[in-house]
């Protein structure tokens, strides 16, 4: 009798948790090498300026200071950081140098590196470096960028680095004949991923072996290894990036930053291991910022409520340089503005503006959070104008099952096209309404109860995942019958080890406990792509499935030789290979480990999708918003682990609420960052949003991968800004308060209420 495993779909507790909750995780701050030194980075306090001189003599005189590195110590040309995604040649002028050379372009830009016997001594030394920067006028926002108050890259002549174009159909023609057009401007504030454990590296150079080892990699270790090896003039094999436990990533950690070069280079220069641990203030001013988008868009709808077109201009303030994935957000805002709805005619331009602020990169749901805010607000405004119920208006326009695959707007330059793969959007929409109790709650809309006005909102979203081109897995059946799974995916806290073990256990029909997932080193598999674009489960998991097929073939072949039969006659079941009543256990099957490798290639994105509904209560006196209830229903095709997926969804929603209400990186007009600590940059805390529900369904498996799974790490937050703004507008509908800008901070809402009351009393 054949015993089938069924780990996939079971709420397995995370294997990572046991070590982490007992304080036994190994984070990069826990890594220490014999004889190591500590690095601290001198960062520019000037937003824009010309470096006249750097005098390190006082710092070097401090006992315990070993070395101060500036751009001049890095050879004739300071290395720059190439783009990982959309590496267009015309963007090369905007690549960030690893240390500022002639100019500084943002507060926080690395200018020098101090290496000392302790981090405290190195910080003391920082204060002794005399840095002479001649300030230039700063560009701190869109209007200053467009007015060329200064130009960050003089040779480029403009602060517009590039303009992306998203197009579909014929928008100009469609708008000419549309029954209804509304034009609005929207703004989403700059905020960023604030993972719990800041970044860090320990680098060690083995002169004799010519080998560099770097601990602290995350997300995209193989890509970073290629970049670093090229910058240092080393062979790939001479560089090993090691991934230890990671306290969160959210798209920001693990991209190649200046420190990814500086710490390894310093270790090589001083000939001793060097450790750097980012502090929170540094993190806030140096790790990727995100969002920071303004737009002026038009929405065309027919009289009977059919969406017709989107047209307009988006401005993305990307900061001082284009970082490794800096184009993704601005591109996504344009490409995915139509979301899960049929919109035939699209003409959206998205311009990336350079400003004297920290450079931007991806943050969970890049571009999607911003664009969903814009779209969902537009839909509610249109519903109000056209006097069509906003639930009905959405239902009328969701992409239908029969329309799949449904192409989205194409994008240029760095041309890309994609299509929604599968889904029953209406079924999920209706499920959300039902779970939320929409009809029962409708009577509360606009009601004033105990000083709070109540409001409801609903919004739908799509979530792209599974970026290609490939992922790699190597499976090793050890001689004792245990299975080692080496994978090119990386862990950023999403439960990778658990999920990959579930997939491998089912594929090999083995006990979950016999499987070890190894993802921590660039030496484990030939190539790897890592953890971004909600791709690990689909890409890494599918690679494991392909490798498992190969390993089973090898097991059959090996067993067949011993059992005296053909390979295809061998039956694998219960961790043994059998033929004719004879059984060979996996343990001891072969005197040497049995090893296979496989790659999963994929060109098509997966498209998870969902609907969210919210019930809020707004205090018009303080501007405070209580989230009374929040529900998210998402179809992920196939659920590997409901427990970890649920955690991802809830966490993601809370991040979305942080962006909707709290988080804001504020700059003044001179490019000074005013929110340099968690006292001023407000993260959601455990008590802020207690009422969040998440439901996952498996209606439509993805047709494009053997698991049927769809990437699902980001979805929760994508529509949250839009849903919250719509719920607040609904609560304050008697005043016609229409938020067009995030965050929905108490002062902003209070101001909108005051303005509305003033306008009303003037009427």
């Amino acid at each position: 009798m054949k015993s089938f495993n069924s780990y996939i779909g079971r709420p397995m507790e995370r294997v990572e948790d046991l070590r982490m909750v007992r304080g036994r995780g190994t984070y990069v701050a826990d890594v220490n090498r014999p004889n190591q030194l500590y690095a601290v980075i001198l960062r520019s306090s000037v937003a824009h300026g010309i470096i006249r001189s750097i005098d390190s003599s006082e710092a070097l005189a401090l006992p315990g200071v070993r070395r101060v590195l500036t751009a001049k110590d890095l050879g004739s040309k300071v290395p720059v950081i190439p783009l990982r995604l959309q590496p267009l040649p015309q963007l090369e002028p905007f690549h960030q140098p690893v240390l500022a050379d002639e100019k500084v372009r943002y507060v926080g830009e690395p200018v020098a590196l101090v290496i000392a016997d302790s981090a405290a001594i190195a910080e003391d030394a920082l204060e002794r470096i005399v840095l002479d920067i001649e300030p230039l006028p700063a560009v701190a926002n869109r209007s200053q960028a467009e007015a060329k108050r200064a130009v960050l890259f003089e040779e480029h002549g403009s602060n517009v680095a590039i303009t992306w174009s998203a197009f579909r159909g014929n928008a100009d023609e469609a708008f000419k004949t549309a029954d209804y057009v509304r034009r609005e401007t929207f703004k989403v504030q700059r905020h960023a991923a604030m993972f719990m454990e800041p970044r860090g590296f320990v680098a060690e150079w083995d002169e004799a072996a010519g080998k560099l080892t770097v601990w602290g990699a995350a997300k995209t270790a193989w890509h970073n290894r290629r970049t670093l090896a090229a910058q240092l003039g080393l062979a790939l094999e001479a560089v090993d990036l090691i991934e230890v436990d990671v306290g969160g990533g959210f798209g920001s950690r693990g991209e190649f930053y200046p420190e990814d070069y500086l710490i390894p280079a310093a270790a090589r220069i001083v000939g001793r291991p060097v450790k750097w641990t980012e502090d929170r203030r540094e993190h806030i001013m140096s790790a990727n910022h995100a969002r920071d988008v303004e737009c002026d868009v038009e929405f065309a709808v027919s009289r009977d409520g059919r969406f017709i077109g989107l047209r307009g201009q988006i401005w993305a303030d990307i900061g001082a340089y284009i970082r490794t994935n800096g184009s993704v957000g601005p591109r996504n805002v344009a490409q995915f503005m139509s979301g899960p709805y049929c919109i035939e005619h699209i003409d959206l331009k998205s311009s990336m503006l350079t400003t004297n602020k920290t450079p931007c990169g991806t943050y969970r749901g890049p571009g999607r959070y911003e664009t969903d805010f814009i779209r969902e607000r537009m839909i509610d405004l249109a519903a109000q104008d056209l006097k069509i119920d906003r639930v009905e208006l959405r239902r009328r326009n969701l992409v239908a099952d029969a329309q799949m695959p449904y192409p989205l707007a194409s994008i240029t330059p760095y041309d890309s096209s994609t299509e929604l793969d599968s889904g029953d959007y209406h079924a999920v929409f209706d499920r959300c309404l039902k779970e939320f109790g929409w009809d029962e709650r409708t009577r509360l809309r606009g009601q004033l109860i105990d000083g709070y006005y109540h409001g409801l909102a609903i919004g739908s979203f799509i979530e792209g995942g599974a970026a290609g081109p490939k992922e790699e897995a190597r499976l090793v059946l050890e001689t004792d019958g245990a299975l080692s799974v080496y994978i090119g995916s990386s862990s950023v806290g999403q439960g990778l080890e658990t999920i990959m073990a579930q997939i491998a256990a089912d594929a090999m029909e083995m006990s979950y406990d016999k499987i070890t997932i190894r993802h921590g080193s660039t030496s484990y598999v030939k190539d790897g792509y890592g953890a971004y674009h909600s791709r690990s489960t689909v890409m890494g998991g599918s690679a494991i499935l392909l490798a498992a097929d190969k390993l089973k073939d090898l097991i059959r072949k090996t067993a067949g030789a011993r059992l005296g039969c053909k390979a295809e006659q061998v039956v694998i079941d219960g961790e043994q290979a059998s033929f004719g009543g004879e059984h060979l256990a996996f343990a001891g099957l072969s005197g040497v480990p049995l090893e296979v490798e496989a790659e999963f290639f994929n060109k098509k994105y997966t498209w998870a999708y969902g609907t969210q509904a919210a019930h809020v209560a707004v205090d018009p006196g303080t501007g405070h918003v209580k989230v009374i209830d929040f529900i998210s229903v998402e179809d992920v095709g196939r659920m590997i682990n409901p427990l970890t997926l649920h955690g991802q969804a809830i966490g993601s929603i809370v991040q979305g609420l942080g962006g909707a209400f709290l988080e804001h990186l504020v700059y003044d007009d001179e490019g000074q960052l005013l929110t340099g600590s968690f006292a001023d940059y407000l993260m959601p805390t455990a008590s802020d949003f207690p009422n969040i529900r998440s439901i996952t369904v498996e209606l439509k498996p993805c047709p494009n991968n053997p698991l049927g799974a769809k990437g699902a790490g980001e979805g929760g937050l994508i529509p949250v800004g839009g849903v919250m703004a719509n719920a607040v507008a609904d609560a304050l509908s008697h005043l016609n308060v229409q938020p067009m800008e995030l965050p929905l901070s108490p002062p902003r809402l209070w101001q909108l209420v005051e303005q509305a009351e003033t306008a009303r009393s003037a009427d």
Partner: protein
């Protein structure tokens, strides 16, 4: 975020502590719970030569309640106030206000003396001291002195404490059992510094008219303040909706908060008015 190098001392008497402070001519700082000083050290916003830790000083951690009011030793922690059931009767305003201070872990360390000496204009304890007309006991090289809250708070994070002085006690006047009161603040998140807050108390005469109104506000000026014009408007009158509306409007006019990254001044002024109206309503229940 490594503090600069400093010397450290933990004297066992107030006199020794004062002598240590005096020896550094203004370059020493007192540390108790470290609620505010530790972040300032980490950011290198404070760079004292010497930290004088009060942890070994005796007799500064008592809450004494008597006919002359409530005496809080400088080392009384927020959690001590929270867990002292007597204060629900002896000083409910204090007990309520302290519930809003920071978070659990911080409440286990932060102290009354530290907060009052730090004089953050948004902090609850300085607001209560100001509202209630507390008297501070201060010990320095020249001996002990007593100062009223109104004279103690002199500006943003500034007090009349001299470099060689230590605050040892905060004395709140007696609390009649029938006193009416309210404390309300609004913060972005639980435990954050208030964007604005209101502390108030008053008594009623035989005819139900307000007497001896005390109305204080935090987060709206460079120090905790009393709203004298509001108090004057309340005194001698019965509390009704009209009076509440008028007092609320008066409160809005009598503050001129600065704008900062978290809110324009106009918002904080409106918030004080809103909180005052709500506080007065609550006090009457």
């Amino acid at each position: 975020m490594k503090p600069p190098i400093f010397e450290y001392a933990s004297p066992s008497t107030v006199a020794e502590a004062v002598a240590l402070l005096a020896s550094k001519d203004g370059n020493a700082k007192v540390i108790s719970g470290g609620q505010s000083l530790m972040p300032m050290l980490a950011f290198r916003l404070a760079t004292p030569e010497l930290l004088v830790d009060l942890k070994h000083l005796k007799n500064l951690d008592a809450i004494s309640i008597g006919e002359d009011g409530v005496r809080l030793g400088a080392k009384v922690r927020w959690c001590d106030i929270e867990s002292d059931a007597r204060l629900a009767v002896s000083h409910p305003l204090l007990a309520e206000a302290i519930k809003h201070v920071a978070h659990y872990q911080i409440r286990n360390r932060g102290t009354v003396g530290g907060s009052v000496a730090h004089a953050d204009p948004s902090a609850e304890m300085p607001g209560i001291a100001m509202t209630c007309g507390a008297r501070m006991t201060i010990v320095g090289s020249a001996g002990a002195r007593i100062e009223a809250a109104a004279d103690f708070f002199t500006g943003p994070l500034q007090t009349s404490l001299q470099p060689d002085e230590i605050l040892t006690e905060v004395h709140l006047p007696p609390w009649p059992a029938a006193r009416r009161w309210a404390f309300l603040e609004f913060a972005r998140r639980k435990g954050d510094f208030a964007m604005a807050g209101i502390a108030l108390h008053y008594d009623l005469d035989g005819a139900g008219r307000i007497v001896d109104a005390h109305v204080g506000a935090i987060g709206v000026a460079d120090r905790p303040i009393r709203l004298a014009a509001v108090e004057a408007m309340l005194n001698g009158n019965r509390l009704d909706d009209r009076l509440i509306a008028a007092a609320s409007a008066k409160a809005r006019q009598s503050v001129d908060p600065p704008s900062d990254i978290h809110a324009p001044g106009a918002y904080r002024a409106a918030l004080v008015a809103t909180l005052l109206a709500r506080g007065l309503k609550k006090s009457a229940v």
